[in-house]
């Protein structure tokens, strides 16, 4: 039976009826059309579906949409503003931290959450802060550089 839920995504309120077996990732992508959130495994191993749920980055493929009732969610679409790219997005572009780009939205959200909580992370903290976001293209090097360039 569908359940009516309400959530705030990127400062916008959504009210949707969802089947209990729908994941948050599928809801965001297929029902709400926020396709910046990617799916690379569906089992919580790759981090491509990372969203920030009530202040913490999580794999949205391992959250039921119904569990997110009343939640505040941030997806990659919420980062850039009318003024342009978020500084982290800009740093990823300038440092060459993006190749195929499939891991990028999740990677940037993890990095943003890390910097929000810890504006001056050490290299080790940066590595840990994105350890759940697999990237097969870059070898992470330029991702480290991009994050380092935006820390305070």
């Amino acid at each position: 039976m569908k359940k009516l839920i309400q959530m705030t995504i990127n400062d916008q309120i959504y009210e949707v009826a969802v089947e209990p077996n729908k994941t948050l990732a599928d809801l965001i992508r297929y029902d709400l059309g926020l396709t910046g959130t990617k799916k690379g495994c569906d089992t919580g191993d790759c981090g491509a579906c990372t969203v920030i749920l009530n202040g913490d980055p999580v794999n949205s493929c391992l959250v039921l949409a119904v569990q997110a009732d009343n939640a505040v969610i941030e997806t990659i679409e919420g980062l850039s503003t009318d003024d342009g790219l978020h500084p982290l997005q800009q740093a990823f572009v300038e440092k060459g931290a993006i190749q195929c780009g499939f891991c990028t939205p999740g990677m940037i959200l993890s990095a943003k959450n890390l910097l929000d909580k810890n504006p001056a992370p050490t290299e080790e903290e940066i590595r840990e802060g994105i350890s759940g976001n697999l990237c097969r293209c870059t070898g992470y090097q330029k991702i480290f550089e991009a994050i380092e360039s935006t820390r305070s």
Partner: protein, 292 residues
């Protein structure tokens, strides 16, 4: 990958959760962090008609402390455990287990209750909980009971919980002065690892004589459940802490306290050898803390 269809329930109290569980019995499963259950459902390793979420039950996600104990709610996430001041100060081996579980994304969802109820021999927090002598807090329609964690595990994926039980949390006594504990996990890579072997040790010793007053060693991935190492512990009791005693205990642990098997993650022989290394290293690190 799609999830199978099921009914979703989100009780706000333990009582209501127990009523639901009794009603649906084995047709229902509790959902805590979901990082294992939802994977198992997607992969069709388990099936269920009813999912009972525990996440909105007041108090289940809290860590409370009094003068003697720390009580950790079953739905506390790994991330919350890791950043709790009392855990950081007094239960560093548990913090280390929580920090090593899965990835930073998983740790924001995965709960300690889930980690324990899955009863994987490789569970990351289990050796630490065992060496801190954690007590599992259980409720069912008939009342509450407590059980030492060392008696909780019955086999891979099997526990002492009955169909109408809920695991509500754990109680850990604060370690005494002159004690220390350490956890080490060994896998193939440095993140998102499923342990080949993991181990934790706890010891208390006399600051003057270095005599070991109490010691607990727990080993993971080398038996059907995480296990204590009673023979190695017995050999250490009353002995003088130091490399000699730790090396001897490590030898006993690997030959007498574990029964590893071969699987695709590692061979029994390697696991047995690593029980020795990890036992020795965790004891030495625990001892360093105990005399600090």
């Amino acid at each position: 990958m799609l999830l199978p269809t099921f009914e979703f329930h989100e009780p706000e109290s333990i009582e209501k959760a127990l009523v639901l569980k009794k009603q649906f019995n084995s047709g229902a499963r509790f959902l805590a962090g979901g990082t294992d259950l939802l994977v198992y459902l997607k992969k069709k390793i388990v099936s269920t008609d009813h999912v009972i979420s525990l996440q909105r039950i007041d108090g289940l996600s809290e860590i409370r402390e009094n003068e003697t104990d720390l009580t950790i709610g079953a739905c506390t996430t790994m991330a919350a455990i890791s950043r709790h001041p009392a855990v950081q100060k007094k239960f560093c081996a548990l913090k280390s287990g929580a920090d090593n579980m899965g990835t930073h994304l998983i740790r924001n969802r995965a709960t300690i209750g889930g980690n324990v109820c899955n009863a994987s021999p490789a569970g990351d927090t289990l050796p630490a909980l065992l060496v801190y002598d954690a007590v599992a807090l259980i409720e069912n329609p008939d009342g509450k009971r407590e059980i030492p964690l060392k008696d909780f595990f019955k086999g891979p994926g099997r526990t002492d919980l009955k169909n109408d039980d809920i695991l509500t949390g754990f109680r850990l006594s604060f370690p005494p002065d002159h004690s220390g504990a350490h956890y080490i996990q060994l896998g193939k890579r440095k993140s998102a690892e499923i342990n080949v072997v993991n181990a934790a040790s706890f010891l208390t010793c006399d600051p003057g004589t270095r005599k070991i007053r109490s010691v607990r060693i727990a080993l993971g991935s080398v038996a059907p459940t995480p296990v204590r190492a009673p023979k190695a512990e017995a050999a250490l009791m009353g002995n003088t802490a130091g490399d000699e005693a730790f090396n001897a205990a490590a030898e006993i642990a690997r030959f007498e306290d574990c029964s590893p098997i071969d699987d695709f993650r590692g061979s029994a022989a390697y696991r047995r050898a690593m029980v020795g290394v990890l036992t020795k290293r965790t004891l030495a690190a625990a001892f360093d803390q105990a005399r600090a």
